[in-house]
Amino acid sequence: MPILAPIGRVFLAFLAATGRLGTFAMTGVSHCARPPFFPRLIGHQMIEIGYFSLPVVGMTAIFTGMVLALQSYTGFARFNAESAIAAVVVLSITRELGPVLAGLMVAGRIGAAIAAEIGTMRVTEQIDALTTLSTNPFKYLVAPRLIAGTLMLPCLVVFADIIGVFGGYLISVYKLGFNPNTYLKLTWDFLEPLDVISGLVKAAVFGFLVALMGCYHGYHSKGGAQGVGLATTNAVVSASILILAFNYIITALFFGT
C-alpha cells in the first residue's frame, strides 16, 4: 500500500494537469471561432511569430541542408549511390527536419516570449484588469496567439524547405562536384506532394502547440519574477517535448501503413 499511494498520487496529478490543459485548449479554440475578433492583434502576432522568426528558421534550415548533403555523401559514396543525396536531402527536409527544427526554434523564440509576456501580465494584475474591463483574456490574449501560431508556422516551414534544399544544393554542387541541373532534376523527381503536405500539417500542429504552451504556462504563472521564469522554462520544455511526440504521431498517421 505505501508503494502504491505515491504512484497513484502522481498519476492523479498527471490526469488533473492533462484535464486542465485540455480545458484550457478547448476554451482557447472556442474563442478563436466566436466573435468579437481582434484582427489588429492577430496581425501583430503574425508579424511577431512569422516575420521575425525568418532569420532564425532560415539559418537553421540552410545549415541543416548543408550538413545533410555532406553526411549522406560520406555514406553513399561507399556504395556508389551519390545520386541518392538529392533525395535524402529533400525528403528529410520536407518531411521531418523542416517542421521539427522550425518548430523547436520557434518554441524557443516565441513560446518563451508568449509565456513571459502573459506571465508578467498575470503577476502584475493586468489579466484581472482585462476581465474587469469586460474583455475576456482568452479572446484578447490567447486566441490571437493560437491563430497566428497555427497559420504562421506552415509559412515558415515552406521557407525552411526551400532554404534547406538550397543548402544541400550548395554543398553538392560547389563542394561535391554535382551537375547543378542533374541535382535539381533529381530533387524534383523524388519529391511527392504528400511529403510537403505532411510537413505543413505538422507545422500547423507544432505552431498551435507552441502558442498553446506559452499561453497556458503564462496564464497560470504565479508569484513574481521567479514564477514567470518558471513559466517560461516550462513553456519551452513542454512545447519541445510535445513537438517531438506529435511528430511521431503525425508521421505514423501519414506514412504508418
Partner: protein
C-alpha cells in the same frame, strides 16, 4: 438594514485555498451610493473578498447578490454583463504596458462599449483631466510613469466606463502620505460625481477614515465589526481598537509564519 435594497449583498461567503480557509462566512450589505471601507491586516483575505465579488475568483459557498441578482453560479456570458457595472483600481494599478496611457484609459470604452477610437480618445482625455493629468501624459507608455501617476491613470481607467460600483484595492499603498491624500481626494470626487457605490479595502486608517461612510473590519475570514466611520473610535471592540491604533499588543496575534 436600510430601507433601500442593497447594491451588494453577501451572505455566508466562503473561500478556501487548498487546506487554508481564507473567508469563513462573510455577511455584508452595501447600500447604493454608499462608500464602504473594509479594513483588516495583511493576509486576512481582503483582496480575495473583492476578487470573489467581482468574479475573478470562484467562491466555494454562499451568495453574492448585485442589485438583487444572484451572481454565484451564473453563466460566464451573463457574468460578463454584470461585470460592466464594475470598475476597479488595482493595487499595482494593473496598467497594460503594451498600450499607451490614453489607450489604457479608453480600453473599456473601445473593447466593451465598441466606441470609435477617436471618440474614446476624447473621453479618455476628459477622464484624465478629471484626475489631474494633461493630454501630454496620454501619449506616454505606462512604464514611464511614477507610482502616483500610475494610480491616477488606473483611477481614470476605472471611472472611464462610468461604472455603478467601483472597487479600490489598497489605493494608497506605496505612495507617500501627501500623494496618498491627493489620491483619496480624487477617489472621493470621482465616486461622488458618478454617484457610484464604492468598496475599498485598505489597512491605511487615514485613508479609510477619509474615503469611507462606513467601515467594516475583516478578521479571521469574517466581518467582526461594522459601523459608521465616526463610530469606529467608540467601537468597544478589542480587535478594532488594536487595529486602528496600530498596537502590537492585543487580541490579534500576528504569527510570523
Amino acid at each position: 438594514m436600510s430601507a433601500t435594497a442593497p447594491k451588494i449583498a453577501l451572505r455566508d461567503l466562503k473561500k478556501r485555498f487548498g487546506d487554508k480557509p481564507v473567508l469563513t462566512g462573510v455577511d455584508l450589505d452595501v447600500a447604493p451610493g454608499e462608500s464602504i471601507v473594509v479594513i483588516g491586516g495583511s493576509g486576512t483575505g481582503k483582496s480575495v473578498l473583492i476578487k470573489c465579488i467581482m468574479g475573478l475568483l470562484q467562491t466555494d459557498n454562499g451568495s453574492i447578490r448585485i442589485d438583487g441578482e444572484e451572481v454565484v453560479g451564473m453563466r460566464v456570458s451573463e457574468r460578463e454583463k454584470v461585470m460592466r457595472k464594475f470598475g476597479m483600481l488595482f493595487q499595482s494599478a494593473g496598467l497594460f504596458d503594451s498600450l499607451l496611457v490614453w489607450e489604457n484609459v479608453a480600453f473599456g470604452l473601445i473593447q466593451a462599449r465598441g466606441m470609435a477610437r477617436d471618440e474614446a480618445k476624447t473621453v479618455a482625455h476628459e477622464k484624465m483631466a478629471q484626475v489631474g493629468l494633461g493630454e501630454d501624459v496620454g501619449a506616454l507608455s505606462p512604464a514611464e510613469l511614477s507610482g502616483g501617476m500610475k494610480k491616477r491613470v488606473g483611477l481614470a481607467r476605472a471611472i472611464a466606463t462610468e461604472p455603478e460600483i467601483i472597487f479600490f484595492d489598497e489605493p494608497t499603498t506605496g505612495l507617500d502620505p501627501i500623494m496618498g491624500d491627493i489620491i483619496n481626494d480624487l477617489i472621493i470626487d470621482c465616486v461622488k460625481e458618478l454617484g457610484a457605490t464604492a468598496l475599498t479595502i485598505t489597512h491605511d486608517m487615514a485613508s479609510a477614515r477619509k474615503i469611507g461612510d462606513r467601515i467594516a473590519m475583516l478578521f479571521d475570514g469574517e466581518i467582526i465589526w461594522d459601523g459608521a466611520v465616526d463610530e469606529v473610535d467608540r467601537a468597544e471592540n478589542p480587535y478594532v481598537e488594536q487595529f486602528i491604533n496600530g498596537l502590537a499588543e492585543g487580541p490579534i496575534q500576528v504569527t510570523t509564519a
